[in-house]
Symmetry: C2
Subunit: 335 residues, 2 copies
């Protein structure tokens, strides 16, 4: 239980001032090469570990970026988060992650907690926030990026796509291939705003094309995944036999639905077309492969990361960015 080594101790050991040690630890610090080498070797010998907390307080730069995502077990956001993390960590930034559990109230508490850490920027998944959340973030006066959506009233920067528009090509594709009686499988509640937007997109596009109103089939409360897709089909099999296409809110749900269809003796795509959303691995590996919408989740993460790094280093115009991620229909054998 000896007391921890501080910068001062290293300085004394080398015979320089703490300031010189400080500079030796900064990548761009103006120190003589020889001095730096001596400092670093002494630091290593003494077991000195740089204290970011003190540095942060004095310099007012935390190196933190706060990130909120709806759910950690939703594979949808894993890719985005991973690529975002990769971009940021090379710039020496550390993510503070929190999950909102699809609730604006939870998001509010989370944002309050995160802001106490003085992040240099904040990334929010989605665009629906409580009034207080908006206020806290505005007052924090740091860059904000909303991702995975196209908000009407953005808080700051936007890197995402319209979930409603992204799914329209699916409806058109189904209509073009002669499918008329559509169904939509998604979460029952309205907590998953992106899922809800997709549902609205489906309904609207079907109306525009003069198709009958799609049947809405609930897969239970968000987040929904494979088992929920399977259960939704099992629970509504009679209705589903009357349809000729099932539009699912995600590839996971689509896969679950397809697998239950197989169990029920329905042939995909012969008896029923099934589509997903998100272009996840499962879509290209399942049989049949799933018709889906590629939203480039990795792209969202890496774009956000590089943009943020440029912004924080002052290399980028800080005026609000609205970046629309290009989404595309990817045909599989399920439709």
């Amino acid at each position: 239980m000896k007391k921890p080594v501080r910068m001062r101790d290293v300085a004394e050991a080398v015979g320089v001032s703490p300031m010189t040690v400080s500079r030796a630890f900064k990548p761009g610090g103006a120190v003589d090469d020889e001095t730096r080498a001596k400092v670093l070797s002494a630091a290593n010998r003494l077991g000195y570990v740089f204290d970011s907390t003190a540095s942060t307080l004095r310099s007012q730069r935390t190196g933190f970026v706060a990130v909120t995502i709806p759910s950690l077990n939703n594979a949808n956001f894993a890719d985005t988060f991973r690529t975002l993390n990769d971009s940021l960590e090379t710039a020496g930034l550390q993510i503070l992650l929190g999950s909102t559990d699809y609730r604006v109230k939870t998001e509010e508490k989370l944002v309050d907690q995160l802001l106490r850490r003085r992040p240099e920027a904040i990334v929010l998944t989605g665009s629906h926030h409580s009034e207080r959340t908006r206020e806290m973030i505005t007052r924090a006066d740091i860059p904000v990026i909303e991702i995975w959506d196209q908000p009407e009233h953005p808080l700051g920067h936007v890197i995402g796509f319209s979930n409603a528009d992204a799914i329209r090509p699916v409806v058109r594709h189904l209509a073009e291939t002669g499918r008329k009686k559509l169904g939509f499988v998604g979460a029952s509640d309205t907590a998953d705003f992106r899922g809800r937007a997709r549902r609205l997109g489906v309904l609207d596009e079907a109306a525009r094309l003069g198709l009958p109103t799609p049947a809405l089939i609930s897969a239970g409360p968000a987040p929904v995944s494979m088992v929920h897709g399977a259960r939704a089909v099992a629970d509504n099999i009679a209705d589903i036999r009357k349809l000729d296409a099932l539009i699912c809110v995600s590839d996971q749900v689509a896969f679950g639905a397809m697998s239950e269809c197989a169990r029920q003796g329905m042939h995909v795509p012969g008896d029923l077309a099934v589509t997903g959303f998100g272009a996840f691995e499962i879509a290209s590996v399942s049989s049949p492969t799933i018709t889906t919408v590629d939203v480039q989740s990795s792209e969202i993460g890496s774009l956000t990361g590089t943009f943020l790094v440029d912004l924080l280093q002052g290399r980028t115009d800080p005026s609000p960015l609205r970046c629309r991620i290009r989404t595309s229909l990817r045909l599989g054998n399920s439709s």
Copy 2:
């Protein structure tokens, strides 16, 4: 660009000392209820945001827990991380997450970075670390937990299972059902230590049971997932036709393998049994369902979380814990 509100400003507004404001913000702070209410309302009115950085420096408590995992897109660790995060955040602890990319050198750099933030504890996935990593962590003098493994020489606490032992029942099950010519599909390199341990477990158990040495089929470098399982089967189809069981390093690989088998006209389990590992959603939703090993990934996370919270609050004996997570064979229709 007005200057930020500090505790002192709130104190002045209410007419108390900063110390009282400080206490009003602590859950257990001894302040008059009325005073606290006045302080909090003033804080809210002025837009004061508590500054954890300063608090941390003075009190020497950061509220951080450092966590390293091999890969963020490996679904294996998502459940563990999610439940761990849930337990910790209710206790007001914030995770600092880093991914090691399955490399000890990357882990070393990561640990160095994370320790600078002065975490109150560190959680490492796996048990293979560089000498320098071990040294840094030992010197940091904070609780360490190694998860997802059973290290021979633990750094501190252990919450995990033996990957080699966990997969033995799979081999026994296959032997009992008359399968003799086994194959193992996993990552080619030795970077994924847990995958390697499973392979060794398969080889050893096969030898004990007097079975011929299982064929080793590479699915490429770690991390491996569905597409790699499918490709491994496609690339080695001639060899695989001679086998009667395929033991895969994970459910994802097993699913990919099964789907390629279907494409190749091989029937599972008729022509070939296929098994996975991890008991992920895909195992119970795919058809056929996959025989797998349930390792309770969620359990690992929540156990680690509650243990850590108890430890940091001094409610638990700090002597090294070695917790063996019970694993179990879960039969599916794929074998």
